[in-house]
């Protein structure tokens, strides 16, 4: 193409402010205000990319978001950003971009050989071949996968990076009475009207400046209107902002390109910002897209939309060629012709597919100095690299075919106009079917009753000038030999659409899926309607009955980073206990438990995790240890019916629990399976403190709230989450009482004052504490609760007090080892599929009262003794086995036979001096004493003989705990 910059003109560029950028390694110059596209056209570049399938050279077709061809990769701050439309990149010094989908170079692309495949590569050819023989060695999916590898390499557009994207994305919530999408004239009119009524208004404009079509078509009123709008204090104007989706309740998602157009960013400034705008009313003034025409060779660089050329001339002072021809089916191209002429363009001819052309159009053609050829069509284009000439022939618009001999016209730029399609995308996101307007030959927005309106061209209100008609002739295709493209990016031709029809694909959705028409990065903004028209022709039905495919968010592609916004990397929410910093300072390996961070173990002397937890567990069994259990869910339960409420939600009784005592409780789901467990403390006749597992704190709270608010509103109970109010630490081991006795004041902690499950109040190092004698480990143990802000202080005091007895902190792994030895269940066993009986907790199922789940827990499938039940497993020869191993009967690891169950948890047991575990094994109780195998073929290939034992493997009588 022989585009060039005029010596004057260009509304948005700054003459004299030269910008240097790099494209495919070569330096170019542009002007401030240029897009990459305008700068490349001004620089005489015609080939900007290669097409998806045939790798044909492609140039710039459009001037905005509808651009199908000119996609480049921006090489910014480390992370590559592929597939960005050159028409949307504002150039700035230091911009580096490269073309895509070409090898080895843009000018010479080996994969252009694909074109030699010709008709064999027509739509859907891959469904019919590449299957290979049905039998070995190339049977199954082998053949296809070999071909697929090649296909994948050839497909795809730009290349994604592998380096982390370090740029910042923001998310902002906004509220307004009226959201105006589109800052062209109709949008500004809507915004001003709403603003004058003192409504809160937000205006989103996709371009850097307001004005839209009015601006580049030279509307005399537009500057004043913009000034007026900018002066309103109740109007927020967001430029470079694309509203990309409308969701339920008029929640509109929009992307603001905050600083992509600059090299430098202020501290904290985002690259892009996602707006979520909740609008009372949405006014869409999104304009319309000009359609291309489908004729052989219409994809040659140098062929461009007429309005795009007009826009480049007006906004950037750039003309796309020295000899310009125009082909059209409607009057709007005449407006473009005269506008180009006004900017010194040489418009040599206008080829109109229509045989009848209005007087208005004729006179414009003559003013523009262009020879008017009515009833003619472009039947071929020619040129190397760019466009040199076109072939024009008489045309019958009913048959869509040329009727006579063609004539060559020398030109370096061909502008096309196939009429206009209103941008109704956002209005259709709710799913309503667009309505066909047979006058405008366009789909208009569905009426779906939401608080949403359309204005200007988006509503089909086209104004092309005095005496010009808004209605195109319903002909979009010239059927002549040669590839005529409907979807430029995806290389879908008119013949492909007809082939799809021939093969029985008669729905527009079928044609889209079979040919990939409209599935490219421009989402069919240019290709949809011509494609549908060709299908309608093939079906012999009016376009109205063919319909259009469904519009889906986003309106135009948006970066994943902008939608994820602040929600990744170091901004992930994380919960820490009051003692967190101590853990970190003292060598804890922290591990995630839901959002919580918990110590896994405290490594010393380069110990392994296993060495550390064994040491820690031994300390608890022989001396005394301390563990941070602040993560347990805690719920304050108050009210006259608190006891009755607990009796309903727990399987066991709580009404008769004395004040000052706690009890272990079990909850079922309504369907009879186990939901959660924990201890609940009675602090007063009408007040309990419930604890839940760490993982289920939230779900249990919601469960209780649901029953209180929805099912049993008469029960007078208040619930408050106090998880964060209390720091909690368990002191466990034979010397635990010694440690407490040494430091707790204001209460005794002897066996009489503080028996198992008893609760006392006292103070530790001045801090009021509440102590409950509870054991998860099976040792004598106490849970010390204090106000969370004092947690670290009390923890330190306990550590200091425990020094004479060698107190050590222990982490999750040791906690796990201790509980496995004792046979306590956790989330690994309460996995949503186990019953109380499965877990040997049937003793907790009260027969004296109903409770949630009691009606469903005795169903046929929940009671057979063949169900998997909780047992202990002990390694017979001392060999290590693993959590997640399955229990099998066969000694042969190669033929393990069916699974009888699995190991839910395992550890090295200091007490037994060997590896032990808990397992859910079918008919578990009947297998006590059996010798089976724990097999782990997927991970460690271990196949370890184990003995099935009772699940309580330490101190079954409870003497240690109660002593």
């Amino acid at each position: 193409m022989s585009g060039y910059r005029r010596p004057s003109g260009g509304k948005v560029i700054e003459r004299g402010k030269s910008i240097t950028f790099t494209f495919d390694g070569k330096q170019y110059f542009g002007l401030a205000g240029d897009t990459l596209a305008s700068a490349l056209i001004a620089g005489g570049v015609s080939v900007v990319g290669r097409s998806f399938k045939y790798h044909r050279p492609r140039g710039i077709v459009a001037a905005g978001v509808d651009e199908p061809n000119a996609l480049v990769t921006v090489l910014g701050d480390g992370a590559r950003e592929p597939n960005i439309r050159a028409t949307e990149i504002e150039i700035h010094d230091g911009l580096v971009c490269e073309s895509q989908n070409r090898f080895p170079s843009l000018d010479f692309d080996m994969r252009a050989l694909n074109q030699l495949g010709g008709d064999a590569l027509a739509a859907g050819f891959y469904y019919k071949t590449f299957m290979g023989p049905a039998r070995w060695p190339f049977g199954g999916t082998r053949t296809w996968m070999a071909f697929e590898r090649q296909i994948r390499r050839a497909a795809g557009l730009g290349r994604a990076g592998t380096e982390s994207d370090t740029s910042r994305y923001d998310r902002v919530n906004a509220h307004c009475d009226t959201l105006v999408v589109g800052g062209g004239k109709p949008g500004i009119v809507q915004a001003l009207e709403a603003a004058r009524k003192r409504r809160r208004v937000i205006v989103c404009e996709i371009d850097p400046t307001l004005g839209g079509y009015a601006s580049w078509s030279g509307d005399p009123d537009i500057s004043a209107m913009i000034t007026q709008l900018q002066a309103m204090d109740n109007v927020q104007i967001l430029t470079r902002t694309t509203a990309w989706g409308i969701y339920d309740g008029n929640a509109v998602a929009a992307l603001e390109r905050v600083s992509d157009h600059r090299r430098d960013r202020a501290p904290g400034e985002a690259r892009q910002r996602m707006w979520i705008i909740r609008a009372g009313h949405v006014a869409l003034a999104t304009g319309a897209f000009e359609r291309p025409l489908v004729f052989p060779g219409n994809d040659r660089p140098g062929v461009m939309l007429a309005s795009a050329a007009q826009r480049y001339a007006a906004m950037y002072g750039v003309l796309p060629g020295k000899r310009i021809a125009i082909v059209t089916n409607n009057d709007s191209a005449y407006t473009s012709a005269i506008a180009l002429k006004a900017r010194d363009a040489n418009v040599i001819t206008i080829i109109d597919l229509r045989s009848e052309v209005s007087g208005g159009a004729r006179s414009i053609a003559s003013v523009a100095g262009a020879r008017l050829r009515t009833g003619q069509a472009v039947v071929a284009t020619a040129g190397t690299g760019g466009l040199d000439s076109i072939q024009v022939a008489p045309f019958d618009h009913r048959t869509r075919r040329p009727t006579g001999r063609s004539e060559g016209i020398s030109c370096d730029c061909l502008l096309m106009s196939g009429g206009w399609s209103p941008a109704i995308h956002l209005a259709s996101h709710a799913g309503g079917a667009p309505r066909w307007d047979d006058t405008l030959k366009a789909f208009l927005a569905p009426e779906d009753g939401r608080d949403l309106s359309l204005h200007g061209a988006a509503a089909g209100d086209f104004v092309f000038g005095a005496g010009l008609s808004p209605a195109p002739a319903p002909v979009y295709e010239v059927r002549a030999p040669g590839k005529a493209f409907v979807d430029f990016q995806h290389d879908v031709t008119a013949d492909d659409v007809r082939l799809a029809h021939r093969e029985g694909f008669h729905s527009v959705e079928h044609v889209k899926r079979y040919t990939t028409l409209g599935m490219a990065t421009d989402q069919g903004k240019t290709s949809s309607l011509p494609g549908q028209a060709i299908l309608a022709d093939a079906l012999g039905r009016p376009l109205e009955q063919v319909g259009t495919t469904r519009f889906r968010p986003p309106f135009t592609p948006v970066s994943l980073g902008s939608i994820a916004a602040e929600r990744f990397g170091d901004l992930h929410p994380e919960r820490i206990t009051p003692i967190h910093d101590w853990h970190v300072k003292n060598g804890a390996r922290m591990v995630a438990a839901g959002h919580w961070q918990r110590p896994e173990c405290y490594n010393r002397w380069k110990e392994s995790v296993e060495q550390a937890y064994i040491r820690e567990a031994k300390t608890v069994r022989r001396g005394v240890g301390i563990v941070d259990v602040s993560t347990l869910g805690k719920i304050d339960i108050q009210g006259p019916d608190a006891a009755a409420f607990l009796d309903r939600v727990y399987t066991n009784g709580f009404a008769r629990l004395p004040v000052g005592k706690s009890r272990y409780g079990l909850m079922l789901r309504e369907d009879g399976f186990v939901f959660d467990d924990g201890t609940t403390w009675r602090l007063a006749p009408d007040r309990y403190l419930m604890t839940t597992t760490t993982a289920n704190a939230g779900p249990v709270m919601q469960h209780l709230e649901y029953y209180l608010n929805v099912i049993w509103p008469d029960i007078r109970v208040h619930l408050t989450s106090v998880t964060d109010q209390w720091a909690a630490m368990a002191v466990a081991g034979p010397h635990s009482r010694d440690v407490l006795a040494a430091i707790v004041i204001d209460t005794d902690v002897d066996n009489l004052t503080l028996p198992p499950m008893g609760i006392v109040h006292g103070r530790i190092a001045e801090v009021p504490v509440m102590i409950c004698r509870l054991s998860f480990s099976g040792e004598r143990a106490y849970e010390v609760y204090c106000g969370a802000h004092h947690g670290a202080h009390v923890w330190n005091a306990l550590i200091a007090a425990g020094e004479p007895w060698g107190i050590l902190p222990y982490g999750l792994e040791a906690l796990g080892a201790l509980r496995i030895e004792k046979g306590h269940v956790t989330g690994a066993e309460i996995d949503g599929r186990t019953t109380a009986r499965d877990l040997n907790l049937d003793w907790m199922l009260s027969t004296k009262k109903p409770f949630i789940g009691s009606a469903m827990m005795d169903r046929l499938g929940l009671v057979p003794i063949t169900r998997q039940a909780l047992v202990g497993v002990v390694s017979i020869n001392g060999e290590k086995f693993h959590g997640g191993s399955h229990i099998v009967e066969s000694a042969n690891p190669k033929k393990p036979g069916p699974s009888l169950g699995h190991v839910t948890a395992m550890c090295y047991s200091p007490v037994h001096d060997r590896y032990i575990g808990l397992a859910l094994v079918s008919s578990g109780r009947a297998r006590l004493g059996a010798r089976l195998y724990a097999t782990d073929p997927v991970r460690s290939a271990s196949h370890v003989p184990v003995e099935i034992v009772r699940h309580v493997m330490v101190d079954p009588s409870g003497d240690r705990m109660h002593g």
Binding site: F52, A79, R80, E81, P82, N83, D119, A120, Y126, Y127, K128, T129, M131, T141, W144, M145, E148, A155, L157, A160, G161, T162, D165, Y247, I276, A430, R502, E503, G504, H506, S507, E509, H510, T521, R552, P554, S559, L560, G561, A564, A565, F568, G569, D570, H572, A593, G672, F673, R833, L860, G861, L862, G883, G884, S885, P898, H902, T935, V938, R939
Partner: protein
């Protein structure tokens, strides 16, 4: 019609592709059939195909209210896997997997089943044990499985952030190497063509508006194209199950309809060679042959028939993609869409005779229906033809819920939006 082959493609190309025939006929409905299948999606078409091919019952009509394959068969994220924990599910989905491996040949239509592997990432020691439990279950059930260590993950997925946010580093993954992706629409078209070739009538734009009853027995359907009678009527309408069965007077089922969104980015050159799932949330992602990253997450979580979802899930899913692959922050979302899922009360499907005499039900696929397509059709055809469940679908009965024999792969109980 001629078999599809490379030769055929070339021969036709030389003829300007003028001689290709429709994949399926467009017949008018006959007054009666042996079997009517309501629902022209993957499962319905597969059922019709296997009725004809396995049971010799070709006098079959498939009724589709819109265009063929307009439901979930064309809206899913195309993943095929059989990495299940529970033996009943494992047996069924593994059978399906084996059928997938030969499906293109069986149908003489390339469904592009690509066994690129699926990797479920794990991030904590507890998750590692969970993964081992599942992986071992798979191996013991005769399904392929292996552990993948971080070094290999890094090599196979250069953009994967192994360190994660440090809160959830990648400790490894459980891979099913034989799993992969297939071209979803092609499955519908392939089954439609193959069923049609065996004489099945595929009738599009034919909406069922009621059931014709003889006492309790269902003997036909009223449709927008007239009444059609049949000895047996199979219903395979996924998210529309409750709606359709309500016409037969069934006012409640263990099913809720929920919307699941799916997403695709712009095409890029190959950068993700397998299917990956994130253990720190709910995300599954793969790259299509065209180059787009295809992914999805949780269902939106409220009853819906709208085939579109809302922003909270969109944001959740994008944040998880970027969490795993920070480089992908700069890739761009091209399109999102929604499908209506028939969420069952335990997350597992229903393939059964009933609930009325003469009626057969295939439903409850949650968001796992695509990979089940061949086995679902195979078992449903068996159930319809023989009035007995195939051993593979014996556990997928309707009364299992009430009897307590639930197949709760996720352990979430009767909370369908959590499965």
């Amino acid at each position: 019609m001629a078999e599809y082959s490379a030769l055929q493609v070339i021969r036709n190309a030389l003829g300007g592709n003028e001689h290709w025939k429709p994949l399926w006929r467009k017949p008018d409905p006959k007054p009666a059939y042996n079997v009517i299948i309501v629902g022209g999606g993957g499962h319905g078409l597969a059922t019709a195909y296997y009725l004809a091919s396995e049971h010799g019952i070709a006098n079959v009509a498939v009724l589709e209210k819109g265009w063929l394959g307009s439901g979930n068969i064309g809206r899913n994220t195309t993943i095929v896997r059989s990495n299940y924990l529970l033996p009943e599910n494992a047996a069924f989905y593994e059978h399906s997997m084996k059928m997938w491996e030969t499906l293109s040949h069986e149908l003489n239509y390339n469904v592009m089943f690509s066994q690129r592997g699926i990797i479920n990432l794990f991030h904590t020691p507890a998750q590692e044990d969970e993964a081992a439990r599942r992986g071992n279950a798979m191996l013991l059930n005769g399904v392929d499985a292996r552990f993948v260590r971080p070094e290999e993950l890094g090599k196979r997925m250069p953009a994967l952030d192994l360190a994660g946010s440090s809160r959830l580093p990648v400790l490894g993954g459980l891979e099913q190497p034989r799993a992969g992706t297939a071209r979803h629409d092609a499955v519908a078209w392939g089954y439609a063509r193959a069923a049609d070739r065996r004489g099945v009538d595929i009738i599009e734009n034919c909406e069922v508006t009621g059931f014709i009853r003889d006492g309790t027995r269902v003997t036909g359907v009223n449709t927008t194209r007239g009444d059609i009678y049949a000895r047996k009527i199979g219903v395979a309408v996924a998210g529309s199950t409750s709606r359709v069965l309500a016409m037969a007077g069934i006012d409640a089922l263990p099913i809720e309809s929920h919307v699941l969104q799916a997403f695709v980015t712009e095409s890029v050159k190959p950068c993700l060679d397998c299917v990956v799932t994130y253990g720190g949330g709910h995300l599954y992602i793969s790259q299509s042959d065209k180059g787009g990253l295809v992914f999805g997450g949780d269902i939106d979580g409220y009853n819906s028939y709208a085939q579109r979802g809302n922003l909270p899930i969109v944001e959740d899913v994008m944040s998880e993609v970027v969490e795993l692959f920070p480089a992908f922050a700069k890739l761009r979302l091209l399109r999102s869409w929604g499908g209506v899922m028939d969420m069952s009360m335990d997350g597992s499907p229903i393939i059964t005779a009933g609930p009325l005499p003469g009626m057969y039900l295939n439903a409850g696929w949650c968001y796992g229906g695509f990979k089940a397509t061949p086995a679902s059709g195979f078992c449903f055809a068996h159930t319809i033809a023989t009035d007995e469940p195939h051993p593979l679908n014996a556990a997928f009965s309707l009364d299992r819920f009430y009897r307590g024999y639930v197949l709760d792969e996720k352990g979430q109980g009767a909370t369908p939006w959590k499965h």
